[in-house]
């Protein structure tokens, strides 16, 4: 894995605080995502991992801090953008659950993921996705609700990629997948990353996720606890013992 820490910082989360209603979950989280890298946030349940992504989309309430993205040299404020405009500034998001439109056909799922300011033609992106995921291509006209769990996760990512994002935010992409599919998923994430898409993911399956990550953050009680090179974090006995669990 080449060192990407010297790449320019694409997404910057600075001292983010917030939560749901009066319940504060995030007590000051700071994360830097270099361009073309894979960055993973791990930590125990309730550490606030998913809340970070949800606060970017206005689902969780932000009380302090900032999130900015470097879009073609311009620093844009992410938190003041309306959710539907986030794809305009290069952010794609795959929620953990209910991340497809089951009543729409597979092809339509991709089409509604497309945004006309993506700088790419819809047909090109669509055929790219179908090439990448032949399982989806074979059943393009079937309802997405007929797909298996693994195929759904692929469709969810393909849908997000249809907006040609600079950075893809993934909320626990391996959750609920059978072990064999988990390997397939992480291989896929590496391929997506190699095609030039930056990835910021939140994962329960910490060891596997950190293994493919350039950089990792360990969160606890809504605060940064540790950070460092993905592999090194995954192998650090102290961190493994306290936060990642034995394998």
């Amino acid at each position: 894995m080449s060192d990407k820490s010297s790449n320019k910082i694409l997404l910057t989360i600075e001292n983010l605080q917030g939560g749901y209603g009066d319940v504060q979950i995030l007590n000051g989280v700071s994360i830097k995502v270099p361009e073309k890298s894979i960055v993973t946030i791990v930590g125990p349940n309730g550490a606030g991992k998913s809340t970070i992504l949800k606060s970017i989309y206005g689902i969780a309430k932000v009380t302090a801090g900032s999130v900015t993205i470097n879009k073609d040299g311009n620093i844009r404020n992410v938190l003041t953008s309306k959710p539907h405009n986030l794809s305009k500034i290069g952010i794609g998001y795959v929620p953990q659950i209910e991340n497809i439109f089951p009543a729409l056909s597979i092809e339509e799922n991709l089409e509604v993921g497309y945004v006309d300011y993506a700088n790419r033609k819809m047909e090109d992106l669509k055929s790219e996705m179908f090439q990448r995921y032949p399982d989806l291509a074979n059943r393009a006209k079937s309802r997405a609700g007929t797909l298996s769990g693994g195929q759904r996760q692929m469709l969810a990512m393909a849908r997000a990629l249809m907006s040609a994002p600079d950075v893809l935010l993934l909320d626990e992409p391996s959750a609920g997948l059978a072990p064999a599919l988990v390997d397939e998923l992480f291989d896929e994430l590496v391929k997506i990353n190699q095609s030039g898409v930056t990835i910021l993911m939140v994962e329960q399956n910490a060891r596997r996720a950190l293994d493919i990550s350039d950089y990792g953050y360990v969160l606890d009680m809504g605060r940064n606890r540790h950070e460092g090179d993905g592999r090194k974090l995954a192998d650090d006995p102290e961190i493994v013992g306290i936060y990642l669990g034995r394998k």
């Binding site: 989309y57 539907h84 998001y93 439109f101």
Partner: protein
């Protein structure tokens, strides 16, 4: 045989109008989780506005229909801006929205009555002209309505299937939380839904007024429950389902008058037939005739 053709034809005409009204109600429900009890009165309003422009002001009939569709869109949009949007921001639930919609209906009725009176009205078209079709009597107005209603249904179906905003509407209806985080402009989807619902309400009202030959200020409300039956029949919130549910319900209500159904159900019991059909479907296929269940993963 002649009876069968007659009722089949009448059923197609009634069904195509039901389909247009039901798809508007279904879209509003699926996008906004709003049971629009005022939908019937939008039909009445559409018929009266068309009457006002075409008969009172003697404007061209088609132009008058277009004006009434625009008026339906305008009123729906206005209500979205001053009412529904604020209620949604205040997190009003489905029951609260339903009660407000009923309130809107109750307010629209006296307004319509005040503006247009309670007299029976007729469009300025020849309602007596009929054609003979294998012994069945087919009214000229029925034929016109059938042709234009069918064209409208095809247009709506194509719009939902092909247009970007139609796909966005179905996506939002299917999974609103995902739609909101995936580049779909939710406010645009909502406004589009109201505009379509308003236009279709007026159109269905004109068609219904034409087929009945005459109408008064109670036309829409008397049909409302049958429309809801069509919506549920075709799976709640499924636009295509509402189109087919409306068509089938119209056919079924007319065909129930045939002798083979308990010696023929009297025509004033049509709404009963609609609800009998609804109960049967809910008993045996609760997700609606066109419903499907997503695979559990």
């Amino acid at each position: 045989m002649t009876d069968l053709i007659q009722y089949l034809f009448n059923g197609l005409v009634a069904g195509s109008i039901f389909a247009i009204a039901a798809v508007g109600i279904s879209l509003v429900y699926s996008v906004l989780r709003l049971v629009n009890f005022a939908a019937g009165d939008f039909l009445t309003l559409g018929a009266f506005i068309t009457y006002y422009f075409s008969v009172t002001l003697e404007l061209n009939f088609v132009l008058s229909i277009l004006i009434s569709m625009l008026a339906g869109m305008g009123i729906s949009w206005f209500l979205e801006l001053v009412l529904w949007r604020k209620l949604r921001r205040n997190k009003a639930g489905t029951l609260a929205l339903f009660l407000v919609a009923t309130g809107v209906a109750l307010m629209l009725r006296p307004v319509i009555q005040y503006l247009f009176g309670t007299q029976v009205r007729k469009f300025n078209v020849d309602i007596l002209k009929t054609y003979d079709f294998f012994g069945a009597r087919i009214a000229h107005t029925q034929l016109i309505v059938l042709i234009f209603a069918t064209a409208s249904i095809i247009t709506i179906a194509l719009f939902m299937a092909k247009a970007r905003i139609g796909k966005d509407m179905r996506a939002y209806a299917n999974n609103p939380s995902l739609a909101a985080v995936s580049g779909i402009n939710v406010d645009r989807v909502v406004v589009a839904t109201w505009l379509i619902s308003g236009a279709l309400g007026s159109l269905a009202g004109v068609f219904q007024g034409l087929v009945q030959g005459q109408f008064n200020n109670a036309m829409g409300e008397s049909l409302l429950l049958s429309f809801f039956a069509a919506v549920v029949l075709g799976t709640i919130g499924d636009a295509y389902g509402a189109l087919l549910g409306g068509l089938l319900l119209g056919l079924f209500m007319e065909l129930s008058q045939l002798g083979i159904f308990f010696g023929g159900v009297p025509s004033n019991y049509k709404p009963v037939v609609a609800f009998a059909a609804l109960v049967l479907v809910l008993l045996f296929k609760p997700e609606g005739i066109f419903g499907y269940r997503a695979r559990k993963v």
